[in-house]
């Protein structure tokens, strides 16, 4: 476990909330694991075990209280907000449980948004990629619909297309199928798997569904802020 060739590398990662206050609580008590490039991994565990917290740390949305966290071989300790933002934009795609799309924008614009943020404007190339991705997730013809004018399953497909739009090396999905019916959940999961195989994006997927977890290459189980099981 050297961390070499890993897209994510965690060493003794701890996270406390309310540091310095009477309600200080440690949520993650030292997490160690590597996620290899292209790995398709489930993150499971009971509610409140710290799965979302861990995902947000890896996604550079929050900073660990202590421990080491490297993304694509770059140590993140001591990096400023700008550097973290750049690292996040370049390597990481998010899929959230509540398919957080921007309601003021169309499906196409939502998928293009990471590229617009990265380049400053929408390029023709980004549009072509976004259209292709939307077609791939089965939303051809829905490009110009506003994000809140399509169904929940469709919104989650848009979110997946968006997460993939810059071909990130890491996709972080927090219960991507959490509020979808079984059939739709399977479809979404299949999509992630497809992109993982095709493009080699590593995926870390939080799920409560043992069925889906079993279909991943690897399962990491968190219990009370510790890795209780890590198996393939």
């Amino acid at each position: 476990m050297s961390g070499h060739g890993a897209i994510v590398s965690l060493r003794g990662l701890r996270k406390s909330y309310g540091v310095g206050t009477p309600v200080e609580v440690e949520v993650l008590h030292g997490i160690d694991f590597d996620l290899a490039e292209g790995e398709f991994c489930a993150l499971i565990g009971p509610s409140g075990s710290g799965k979302s917290t861990l995902l947000n740390l890896i996604g550079l949305l929050e900073r660990p209280t202590s421990g080491e966290l490297s993304i694509a071989g770059e140590a993140t300790r001591g990096l400023g907000e700008q550097a973290l933002t750049r690292l996040r934009g370049r390597h990481i795609g998010f899929v959230f449980q509540f398919h957080h799309l921007l309601p003021a924008f169309t499906a196409l614009e939502n998928v293009m948004m990471p590229s617009i943020i990265e380049r400053g404007v929408a390029t023709a190339e980004a549009e072509a990629t976004a259209r292709e991705l939307l077609a791939r997730v089965g939303l051809k013809g829905h490009e110009n619909k506003k994000a809140n004018q399509i169904s929940g399953g469709q919104q989650q497909r848009v979110a997946i297309a968006r997460a993939l739009s810059l071909a990130p090396r890491l996709i972080l999905a927090d219960e991507p199928t959490g509020n979808l019916d079984t059939q739709t959940a399977d479809d979404i999961f299949a999509l992630l798997r497809e992109f993982n195989r095709e493009r080699g994006s590593a995926c870390l997927i939080v799920t409560h569904d043992p069925r889906l977890a079993a279909r991943c290459d690897r399962q990491i189980e968190l219990v009370d802020g510790r890795v209780a099981r890590d198996g393939r």
Binding site: G59, T85, R88, H100, G120, N144
Partner: protein, 407 residues
């Protein structure tokens, strides 16, 4: 509709504004109203002031030089009535070496015209009518650059020679004369002369239309018993607000009594200044209120957009760019509000120019928009918009993206 063309920050700022329709409409309304009030008031006041000053200076020299002894006797032209109502027994005096004084005035910087004037009280007689008047002996070519007589002529041209006279329309009516008729003029000293009326003028001031009688300098000198002399020297300066400076310098250089229109109309000037001060006060209040309005609405919008901000952050938007998005919203609202506000102010000016009329029914001002006033109002609106957005924008930048995503 396909790919958006705007840069990221503009794109998001505009969508956010469009999404919060009601709020956007509200602050736009506030900015528009504020800009309209400021532009309208500034323009109205500046034009009314210009119009008042124009009226005052339409029949008055910017600077007048006269002999020292007469300092307390306000001679023609600007307060001729006083000298005329109580004609002085004492003989009028001439300015010593007035040709040299005219030269002195002419070489002063910012002086554009100098006209020696022979003036004094007299009576215009015809039949049984006798009217007290002010006799003004002038060189028309010089005097028309002091008072724009050419624009006031209703009959004939502003030219005098021999025993010609040009009188006002009111005097003509009082005496029952017109161009081509004759009238007697008797000076206070008792000398008189039969004058041929060759022109009529209407200065827009009944008093002056009744009193002013123009003749040649020579005729006035002989009637007023001022052989070869002049009673005052009238001066026009390039910028009317330079008059006091020029007057002070001439006073020091000539030793004569020199007065500018700013001294003789000091009360008017004080009133105009007060008006300007209260205008600035109103302006400041409006700016503060509009800024508070923009600020508070944007603060609410930042809270409402918490989730969107979190998503944007998760997709790689730095907190500085989030801040930029909200500053831009303030700037955009300020800019658009300024455009509409200036248009609205123009509409108000056109409307009120037909409502505000002077006694004779002529519009008190013509609707016009100074590029300076419009541009500065627009600039202020833009800056105020951005500044007002500063607090909300910083809040947006500081917002914790995780908080938004978890909920």
């Amino acid at each position: 509709m396909s790919r958006p063309r705007l840069p990221f920050e503009f794109l998001v700022a505009l969508r956010f504004l469009r999404e919060g329709r009601m709020q956007t409409a509200l602050i736009l309304l506030g900015v528009t109203g504020g800009v309209a009030v400021i532009v309208f008031l500034s323009q109205l006041i500046s034009q009314l002031q210009a119009s008042i000053i124009d009226r005052v200076l339409g029949s008055q020299a910017h600077v007048v030089m006269r002999p020292l002894e007469e300092a307390n006797l306000r001679a023609m032209p600007e307060a001729g009535s006083i000298a005329l109502v109580e004609p002085r027994a004492q003989r009028l005096r001439s300015i010593d070496q007035w040709e040299a004084m005219v030269k002195l005035a002419e070489v002063q910087p910012r002086v554009v015209a100098v006209s020696p004037v022979v003036s004094g009280p007299a009576f215009a007689l015809r039949g049984r009518a006798s009217k007290s008047v002010a006799l003004l002996g002038v060189d028309p070519d010089r005097y028309r650059r002091i008072v724009k007589m050419d624009t006031y002529m209703t009959r004939g041209t502003f030219q005098v020679e021999g025993s010609n006279a040009i009188i006002g329309v009111e005097l003509a009516k009082d005496l029952g004369v017109t161009v081509g008729d004759k009238m007697y003029l008797r000076a206070a000293g008792g000398r008189d002369e039969l004058l041929q009326i060759t022109g009529l003028f209407d200065i827009g001031n009944k008093d002056l239309n009744r009193r002013w009688v123009f003749t040649t300098m020579k005729l006035a000198q002989s009637l007023l018993d001022l052989p070869g002399g002049v009673s005052n020297i009238d001066i026009t300066v390039a910028d009317i607000f330079d008059a006091q400076d020029v007057s002070d310098r001439l006073q020091a250089g000539s030793g004569l009594t020199v007065e500018s229109w700013m001294t003789t109309n000091s009360q008017l000037l004080a009133a105009l200044r007060n008006q300007t001060v209260s205008n600035n006060l109103i302006r400041s209040f409006v700016i503060v209120i509009v800024a508070l309005g923009i600020s508070s609405v944007l603060v609410v919008s930042v809270v409402q957009k918490q989730k969107e901000i979190g998503i944007l952050r998760a997709m790689g938007t730095s907190s500085n760019r989030v801040m930029g998005i909200f500053l831009l919203q303030g700037g955009l609202v300020g800019f658009v509000g300024a455009l509409v506000g200036v248009a609205l102010a123009w509409g108000l000016l056109v409307f009120f120019s037909t409502v505000y009329r002077s006694g004779d029914g002529a519009p008190l001002f013509q609707p016009q928009l100074d590029a300076g006033i419009a541009l500065s109002a627009a600039g202020i609106a833009l800056v105020v918009g951005v500044l007002a957005a500063l607090i909300p924008a910083r809040r947006a930048a500081k917002m914790d993206p995780v908080q938004a995503i978890r909920s």
